[in-house]
Amino acid sequence: MADAVFLALAVITIGSAIAALELRSLIYGSIALMGTLGGIAGFFFLLDAPFVALFQLAVYVGSIAVLILFTVMLVKRELIFKKIEDKRRKFAGIGLMLVIMVSLGAVFLDSGIKTITTDEPAPNFRDIGIDFVTYYWPALILMGLLLAGSVTGALVLAKREDVENDQRAS
């Protein structure tokens, strides 16, 4: 049962990842990306991490993907469907991808990790909270600074200065 779910999730995740990159339309691509992100969330559920899974759904599928979608819609229509690729580069890329997959996969398969199984209960999300306030709290401060900085920065960048100047002038 679990295996079937796992397989289904794997297919969805990987398949939609490929689709996100290969679909002609960017809009469908972003929707496919949502599929991937959702698939990952599914995995999180499977791994008994519902808190992270929900966070994933909220932040990723909810906000990031939507943000991307809006951006996609901002750009011109023809750009959304434009998909020029160098064939040679594409094949090389596929080659690289396969080599990475095979070699890293071989490393994983070959290593002792294969035998690791666990019957212990999954970590409680309370532990996460305790971790945050007792151990990771400086990282949290930084996280705050990081978000503040990136938001102000992104705003400054995205601000249309000409419009602004016009307004100011008027």
């Binding site: 996100a20 960017l26 995995f43 932040v59 901002l74 991808m97 199984t117």
Partner: protein, 101 residues
């Protein structure tokens, strides 16, 4: 648990490969952003999977940080795209090649 740790890692490796493929091949900046997100998610999957099998709460904590940072990154990346789009009316990164040599 019937699915083993290694299965999750293999999915993660596959996603990593796809992500790198996407970065190396795709020309549309937005699609490249997709690829980055795919890699980050692969890493997150890894972390949570490892955290589950250790078992240890750190994996999930890390995944949370990672998701948040990815969000910030995406925000910045998109703002850069917007600037670029305003300037060039284009998001094809392969056309952005005035700096070279």
């Amino acid at each position: 648990m019937t699915s083993e740790l290694v299965d999750f890692t293999l999915v993660s490796v596959a996603l990593l490969g796809i992500g790198i493929y996407g970065l190396a091949v795709k020309r549309n900046f937005i699609r490249m952003l997709f690829a980055v997100e795919i890699i980050i998610n692969a890493a997150n999957l890894n972390m949570v999977a490892f955290g589950r099998f250790l078992p240890h709460s750190g994996g999930q904590t890390m995944a949370l940080f990672s998701i948040a940072i990815a969000a910030a990154e995406v925000a910045v990346g998109l703002s850069l795209i917007i600037v670029a789009y305003r300037m060039y009316q284009n998001v094809d990164i392969a056309d952005f090649r005035s700096l070279k040599g």
